[in-house]
């Protein structure tokens, strides 16, 4: 089986061709990061306009790189939720036009489901695969939650807990902005943290010690804002900035790792999987691996290209649906909310 996947939920236009068992034949991602950088965040209308401009060449390139003709494709998969509706609908309409005109089945994919199964993508590296059930930490600029995944189906995914406010990636980006490191701040904070001293400005993520799997990242961002307001020592400002990055990152990684392994233990699950753009974070990757091993668990950290927004994961999740004989109608619409039932309500309760 060959599936063409299309992704346009936020600020990446993507198209990919993937086989039914997850082999990635092509994975084209056109990032809009530079377009939005000057505004310090994604501007929805600009994103929609840019998706529409890029989607044709991106789809064409995905087919060319895979050496596949549309006629050879068995299904067209597209992200139809969650995300920016105006951005999503560009991909959805293109996918519908493609599938309809080529006489192929259309399958809509939930972006989060795509992230959760991205670990099964085969990009040619030697890899081990997690077994079901597994616990997954999905951590990106738009989402942060822990899931129990019982089977390779969207309706076999249960959210165990998530953030009550900011996503972890969003907190990285806000801290980057506060420290004047540009947008997106995540990768820069990661780089500076590697040289910083995490004990100089001790920070702790809220809810670290609570028994729930819920998290909160807005308070720690406020703490960083207070540090910046109080004035970082000007004599060694560069060093101080690196130290703040190190403290912030250590605190965030700490709570993410702790809650994820706690969830796995609570559900008697041995395999934990990492996904989402923040999975690029080196400290998170290594800490999760070490802490899991120390508890006799296995951590699966997909290659970066599978963690950040990409269309290969959409094609693969679409292949799972297509293999099960599922397909959507020509009335498929873009929706801002995920299909996964949420247990964590935004803004609820004490931190």
């Amino acid at each position: 089986m060959l599936v063409l996947g299309i992704e346009s939920s936020c600020d990446e236009t993507g198209a990919a061709v993937v086989t039914g068992d997850g082999r990635v034949l092509s994975d084209v991602v056109q990032s809009q990061v530079a377009l939005h950088a000057q505004y310090g965040g994604v501007v929805p209308e600009l994103a929609s306009r840019d998706h529409l401009k890029n989607v044709g060449p991106v789809v064409r390139e995905a087919l060319t790189r895979a050496s596949v003709r549309l006629a050879d494709v068995d299904a067209v998969a597209v992200t139809h939720r969650p995300g920016l509706v105006g951005a999503l609908l560009v991909g959805v309409q293109v996918a519908k036009g493609l599938a309809w005109a080529a006489g192929k089945p259309l399958v809509g994919v939930d972006h989060l489901v795509g992230h959760l199964f991205a670990v099964f993508l085969d990009r040619g590296e030697v890899r081990e695969l997690p077994g079901f059930p597994f616990v997954a930490l999905l951590v990106s600029g738009g989402h942060t939650a822990i899931y129990l995944v019982d089977a390779p189906r969207a309706d076999a995914i249960t959210e165990l807990g998530g953030t009550r406010d900011d996503a972890a990636g969003e907190a990285f980006d806000k801290v980057g902005k506060l420290l004047g490191l540009g947008y997106p701040g995540g990768p820069v904070v990661d780089r500076l943290a590697a040289t910083g001293d995490p004990t100089r400005f001790p920070l702790e993520a809220p809810m670290l010690h609570t028994k729930t799997l819920e998290m909160s990242f807005s308070g720690i961002k406020t703490r960083v804002a207070q540090l910046v307001e109080a004035g970082l020592p000007s004599g060694d400002r560069a060093e101080a900035v690196a130290d703040v990055c190190a403290s912030f990152q250590a605190a965030v990684v700490d709570v993410l790792v702790k809650k994820t392994l706690f969830a796995a233990e609570a559900h008697g699950v041995r395999d934990v999987v990492l996904g989402g753009g923040v999975a690029a974070n080196r400290a998170l990757r290594s800490r999760l691996g070490e802490a899991a091993a120390a508890r006799g668990m296995r951590a699966f950290v997909p290659p970066l290209a599978s963690c950040t927004d990409n269309a290969a994961m959409i094609a693969y999740a679409g292949a799972l649906r297509a293999k099960a004989g599922e397909r959507d109608g020509w009335d498929l619409v873009a929706t801002s909310a995920t299909v996964l039932p949420r247990v964590t309500r935004k803004g609820r309760g004490d931190r």
């Binding site: 939920s9 209308e45 995300g83 309409q93 493609l98 599938a99 989402h143 020509w330 009335d331």
Partner: protein, 215 residues
Amino acid sequence: MFRGKLAALETSTALGSVALFEDGALVLEREQRVSNAHGESLLPMLDLALRDAGWKPSDIARWGVGIGPGSFTGVRIGVALAKGIHLATGAELVGVTSLDAIAAAAVGAVGAETIVAVLAAMRGEVFAQATGRIARGPTCVRIADWDAWRASLDAPEALVIGDASPIAEGTPPHARLVGRLAMTRAADDADALEPVYVRPPDITLPKSAKPKTPP
């Protein structure tokens, strides 16, 4: 003049429409008024139209598509669908602006050397374009400034036509007219085809500058 099978889509306003032509003659047309752009209804309407005509998507050698100005979302829904179809079949695409389609309805009207096409643009503004003896636009004009803009054309004889209350109470652009114009023009570069937005994007950042999943 294009010969063969041609299909046209228009989604710049709440009135979505499709029209099928063969060798220049209208075969059938369908329209639907919606409250939520056309993402849900456009392709089902097109699919039914093709069934009624007994056509397959790959029979259509050229597509005319409305490219605005109008609802940003509505226009993107039509243009993105057309781009997807083009990727699948390689059919030609011809973009037609909503104001050209509106003006096309008036071509040949007695004594109208200049035609001013208008379309409601929300927020107290209208999209406007003059063609003929005087050419201006497409542009966005505040309704409050309409008389001054109209006078500045220096074309008192101009016929004002379109759907932009209170300036004109006519009909919105229709796929029938998009198709008619698409027959007479050269094909566009499909990958490069973009809507005519006229208005710059709103740069109001979402509160967190990031999409959030609603609770």
